[in-house]
């Protein structure tokens, strides 16, 4: 984006300009530091981590193997990652199945009152989950869904749906109308228009939307801890907090577990940062 910018860039190639660049680097490194420190501590031994801050030490992967090995009676890493994997992937697929047609009917072939529909979707996002948690808990209990993956699959779908519809709508709205009309003139049926014209254009947008749903569902803790805290449905965030113990030192182990839990999302986010921010801004920013 900024590469093509021709506007006046104040102070470039002057001493002030270099200082500002340096400042930007310092700010960037400061913001990143806690993450760097967490990863670093994951490779320390417990005595090294539970002491004065140390930059140089003998790295070990001992903590990683320890946190991933199962202890009986406790939530194992494998179980938590499996629960998260299922809750996240099923909910994301469900969101996409529901959101793509919805976005289509709100942008390319707008139904009547499409703005009202759009605002209805997003208004559900304004309600704090805390206000709905008690009824949800009671419903889940009645259905026998407490401590299962199913409850999280259903709720994560509901949680991500409004945002996904908004985000996809803004990507769909960018498909040039002329292209669709041209395809129509060429005799393409509705299905042909969708698969050969629309989908190739919006595919990157769909990927970014799905990724965002994955990130939100992966990081979610409030619903998970309230509705499925034990091993039948407990997800990765719950497993991370389980590494805090009152017995003995845990900092290095906690760091190792945190690193494992956050790494997938960090990498995914780095890869899709530009499209992602647009989704977070509910498609309001181009």
């Amino acid at each position: 984006m900024s590469q093509g910018k021709t506007g006046p860039v104040v102070g470039q190639r002057t001493i002030g300009g270099y200082l500002l660049s340096l400042l930007a680097w310092v700010v960037g490194l400061l913001f990143f530091f806690p993450v760097f420190w967490m990863v670093l501590s994951g490779f320390k031994t417990e005595p090294d981590a539970n002491g004065p801050p140390k930059m140089f030490f003998e790295p070990t992967t001992e903590q990683f193997s320890e946190v991933t090995s199962a202890t009986s009676g406790l939530l194992s890493a494998g179980q938590a990652f499996a629960n998260s994997f299922w809750a996240v992937s099923v909910s994301t697929i469900a969101v996409m199945i529901l959101a793509i047609p919805a976005a289509y009917s709100l942008s390319i072939k707008p139904i009547g009152k499409w703005k009202d529909v759009l605002f209805f979707f997003i208004s559900t996002k304004f309600l704090p989950i805390v206000a709905a948690i008690l009824p949800l808990w009671i419903i889940a209990k009645e259905l026998g869904w407490l401590n299962t993956r199913i409850v999280l699959m259903v709720l994560y779908t509901a949680m991500n749906l409004p945002l996904a519809i908004w985000m996809l709508r803004s990507f769909f709205a960018e498909v040039p109308k002329e292209l669709i009309e041209a395809a129509q003139i060429d005799g393409a049926k509705l299905w042909g228009q969708i698969t050969s014209v629309i989908l190739p254009i919006v595919a990157p947008g769909i990927a970014a939307t799905a990724l965002l749903c994955v990130i939100f569902a992966w990081n979610e803790f409030f619903l998970a801890v309230q509705l499925s805290p034990s091993s039948g449905g407990a997800t990765v965030p719950i497993w991370v907090t389980g590494n805090v113990t009152s017995r003995g030192n845990f900092l290095a182990k906690l760091s190792a577990a945190s690193t494992l839990a956050t790494l997938p999302v960090i990498i995914a986010g780095w890869l899709a940062q530009k499209r992602m921010i647009r989704g977070l801004a509910m498609g309001a920013i181009k």
Binding site: M1, S2, Q3, K5, P8, V9, Q12, G17, L20, L23, A24, W25, V27, G28, F31, F32, F33, P34, V35, W37, M38, N50, G51, K115, S123, K125, F126, L127, P128, I129, V130, A131, A132, I133, L134, P135, W137, I138, W218, N219, F221, F222, Q226, P237, V240, V244, L251, L254, S255, T262, V265, I266, G269, Q273, I277, R278, L280, A281, M282, I285
Partner: protein, 262 residues
Amino acid sequence: MSLYYSFTKWTVTPPTPRTWTGIGNYTDAFTNIFFRRAAVTSIVMTVTAVVLSVLLGTLIALLLDRKFFGQGFVRTLILTPFLIMPVVAGLVWKNQMFSAAFGVLNWVLNQVGIESIEFATKYPRWAIVGVLVWQWTPFMMLIILAGLQGQSSSVLEAAKVDGASPRATFFQITLPHLRPYIELGVLLGSIYLIQVFDHIFVMTGGGPQSTNIPLFVYQRSIGGGWRFGSASAFSIVVVVATIILATFGLRVLSGLLEGEEA
């Protein structure tokens, strides 16, 4: 459903029959000092975290809206905190940054001759706000950066030709242009931050200074109190407050959609 429960007296454990109490739970909600404190905490935390992260985010966005070596890389670095799992963010800051014994922040303070402070227990509210600002500044920065980069360069050039100082250009052209983006950032930030639960849960578990409404409702019900009736009343109060916020929010969003054709 929540509305119905809120008019009843209902404790799950020990199980008592649900009895109708009318508005009793509501008068409780407004007279309950703990609830009022939680409400104040919620408001103070949300407002300070949103304001600080918008301010910092704007400054950093201005800093990044220039061409320099490694621009994309620095942006990626700053973005990272936003991607961190909130639970992890809370734990890392509590144990490795704020901790009096081994925290990096206190180590830095010691180097300049200040004694260690156990931030998370001494200033729980501000410690949590600090972590929230760390996670949300990147978000604000990205929104505002998108706004800055959407500025038309011809307008900026015209201003320069007319002899406007950089300062005047910023306050009279850039800032008004950024206004909708800042509004959007404030709106989204408030929606998410009013619901903050994870950070508080792992950092303090809800002490007197840091229990906000979500945590308070949790403590009253699923977290051990099991008083579903009164907890429901508390959540209804939250809903009413949110509707007010949402009305404002929807107006901002529809302003952004203006001018877009169907």
